[in-house]
């Protein structure tokens, strides 16, 4: 890349994204005005509790939000400068698996049980690279080797593999066409701890060779620290704080982020109980007025219950959505 060091071209830019699920019980507002940016070659960790809208965000980038009931109601998603939300099926099919790939949370169920793994990898290669079936099989075998599975297992079926190996196969499928953006949605959550480390190492080592930018979705701050350049903390469908990894870990600002760090165990201190953030994440069918975190926030001000805070810059590349840091904002 020829850009200036430090600030390269954005590969993924999400602006003001809104996604909702229209169910019989009401409208579930999963993503509410999310802003995100990943630069070429960078890895961004998207952190948040279950239900914060992380997976929906990822699916929106693939335009795979299940519809109905899901609808992308507003916003902009640009991949390498190209707006994708207006694109039709055919154009999205060209992007998926090719320019943008995704690794899913549950490797046990993510592979088709009736096809052998070799053909499942070869399928994506044939689709996007226009090679002969034979050549696709050869390249698929190469991908298997790259993820540490012997080539001679290409003819085996998913049920003949362990969970960790299935996730390796998923990684092989996702990286087979060298995507510019790899989305990994909790890639290790369903795996044993020992296998988790192997899969993380694998993604890290393959990233250099196979993929441009990376969006890692997780609730594991340790994983983010190990794998990412930047972090975005998500709460109730919005990014409430983002910064590069060193900045965020040394200098977290948003009360929610502080709460997340506060709930991590400290190996140097012996504590009776881990601290947790009081309350529950809000029901996305009935989001509170104002800042969605205010019912749980210890530093709540009057304005927090009235109006939603916008982004305030608190450091180099470090932004927070909180009235505490807003110049125009509230008073104590």
């Amino acid at each position: 890349m020829s850009e200036l060091p430090g600030r390269t071209q954005p590969l993924l830019e999400i602006e003001n994204l809104h996604v909702e699920y229209r169910t019989l019980d009401g409208i579930v507002k999963a993503v509410n005005g999310l802003n995100l940016r990943i630069d070429e070659g960078k890895a961004l960790g998207l952190v948040g509790e279950t239900g914060a809208g992380k997976t929906t965000t990822a699916l929106a980038v693939m335009k795979l939000v299940p519809t109905p009931p899901g609808v992308i109601t507003a916003g902009s998603v640009r991949i390498a400068g190209r707006e994708i939300l207006p694109l039709g099926d055919a154009e999205m099919q060209h992007l998926r698996g090719n320019q943008v790939s995704m690794i899913f949370q549950n490797p046990m169920a993510s592979l088709n049980p009736v096809h052998d793994v070799g053909s499942q990898i070869a399928e994506v290669i044939r689709l996007h690279q226009g090679v002969s079936p034979r050549e696709a099989r050869v390249r698929a075998a190469g991908m298997l080797r790259a993820v540490g599975i012997p080539e001679n297992r290409a003819g085996d079926f998913p049920h003949e593999f362990s969970g960790g190996m299935k996730q390796r196969v998923m990684i092989a499928i996702a990286l087979a066409c060298r995507p510019r953006l790899l989305i990994a949605d909790e890639p290790t959550t369903a795996l044993d701890v020992t296998i988790q480390a192997q899969v993380i190492d694998l993604i890290k080592s393959l990233k250099r060779d196979y993929s441009g930018a990376q969006l890692l979705i997780t609730h594991d701050l340790g994983l983010v620290a190990e794998m990412c350049d930047d972090v975005a903390v998500m709460y109730a469908g919005r990014v409430v704080e983002k910064a590069d990894i060193a900045e965020l870990f040394q200098n977290p600002r948003h009360p929610y982020t502080l709460g997340l760090f506060g709930s991590l165990p400290n190996l140097k201190k012996s504590v009776h109980r881990l601290r947790s953030i009081g309350g529950l994440s809000p029901d996305p069918k009935m989001l509170p007025r104002g800042c969605p975190f205010h019912p749980r926030c210890a530093e709540r001000m009057d304005v927090c219950t009235e109006r939603t805070p916008s982004e305030s810059v608190v450091g180099a590349g470090h932004t927070v959505c909180c009235w505490k840091y807003s110049e125009s904002g509230g008073t104590r």
Partner: protein, 311 residues
């Protein structure tokens, strides 16, 4: 052929022999409890006791029951189904005359219902809650609930009566096949459509379907290459069962359309207490079910690699 499949088939076939013998014993015993003396029925109201006694000897009914049973079983094992008391012809000949007719109609009916049922079921699932899906669900409900004989009569009224384009009964030309095949196909068609729809709906919510979409495959390619094979297993099971039911003789349909099939043969035999024919057709039906189940089980190994019979 898959590994171990030949041996598995052999074991299943050998295992079917005692099963069919048990079926034969049961049908033999049950017939003893049927009211009415076959010899009397055969001779009519004004037969003398002497005539009846003569007839019983001729039919072998004078022998002790266990002797009759053993004769019947020994005959079965030799492949000898006996002689029809009513027509005096070998039972094998009677079945050889009627079974192909039933098999022909049943085959046409099951092919129609499988092809149409799977196509419509898939379409209905992919467009869940659309107008097409709603219409399909109503029609399917009607198809499952409609009595076969009534449907047959209505078809005759419309196509033979009003339109006059198809024969109302009889057998022999391809035209004779149409109405019975459609009548017979209706219930299995409705069942297969409904099952394909629900099975498909379940499969297209699976994670691997999302994976396939994430690869950049079109919805059509995902359905054809990823969903269909997975959704097909319960459907094959039902196709097999329905085919067995049709082959066992669609008594009502064969009666409505006056088709010389095995269903009518069996019913006529029941009324005449023609034991050899009843016994043979019951054992034959059991054998057909055994065979079809075996075929269904074999087809599983081709649909789902997790199902294997080689251990």
């Amino acid at each position: 052929m898959k590994k171990g499949l030949g041996k598995y088939v052999l074991i299943r076939l050998v295992g079917a022999v005692p099963l069919l013998l048990v079926v034969a014993v049961i049908v033999f015993v049950l017939l003893q409890y049927a009211p009415g003396d076959p010899a009397e029925l055969m001779l009519g109201m004004d037969a003398t006791p002497e005539n009846v006694a003569q007839m019983r000897v001729k039919m072998g009914l004078d022998k002790p029951l266990h002797v009759q049973l053993l004769r019947f079983l020994a005959g079965l094992l030799r492949g000898d189904l006996g002689t029809s008391w009513q027509s005096g012809r070998p039972v094998a000949e009677e079945i050889g005359r009627t079974l192909p007719v039933t098999a022909y109609v049943s085959f046409v009916a099951i092919v129609i219902s499988s092809v149409v049922g799977v196509l419509v079921g898939v379409l209905s699932a992919v467009r869940q809650y659309s107008l097409v899906d709603n219409i399909v669900r109503v029609v399917v409900l009607a198809g499952v609930s409609m009595p076969v004989f009534w449907l047959g009569l209505m078809l005759i009224v419309v196509f033979s009566g009003f339109l006059g384009v198809l024969p109302s009964s009889g057998w022999g030309t391809p035209k004779h096949l149409v109405l019975p095949a459609v009548t017979l196909a209706t219930y299995p068609l409705a069942m297969i459509t409904r099952l394909t729809r629900s099975s498909m709906l379940e499969v297209i919510r699976q994670d691997y379907v999302r994976t396939a979409r994430a690869k950049g495959l079109s919805m059509r390619a995902v359905i054809v290459h990823h969903a269909l094979q997975n959704a097909f297993i319960p459907v094959v099971t039902v196709i097999g069962i329905q085919f067995g039911v049709l082959l066992a003789g669609a008594v009502l349909t064969e009666s409505v359309f006056a088709i010389p099939g095995i269903g009518r043969l069996t019913v006529a035999a029941v009324f005449a207490r023609d034991y050899p024919v009843i016994r043979a057709s019951v054992v034959l039906t059991a054998a057909i079910f055994v065979l079809i189940n075996l075929l269904v089980d074999i087809s599983y190994t081709y649909l789902d690699p997790r199902i294997r019979y080689d251990n």
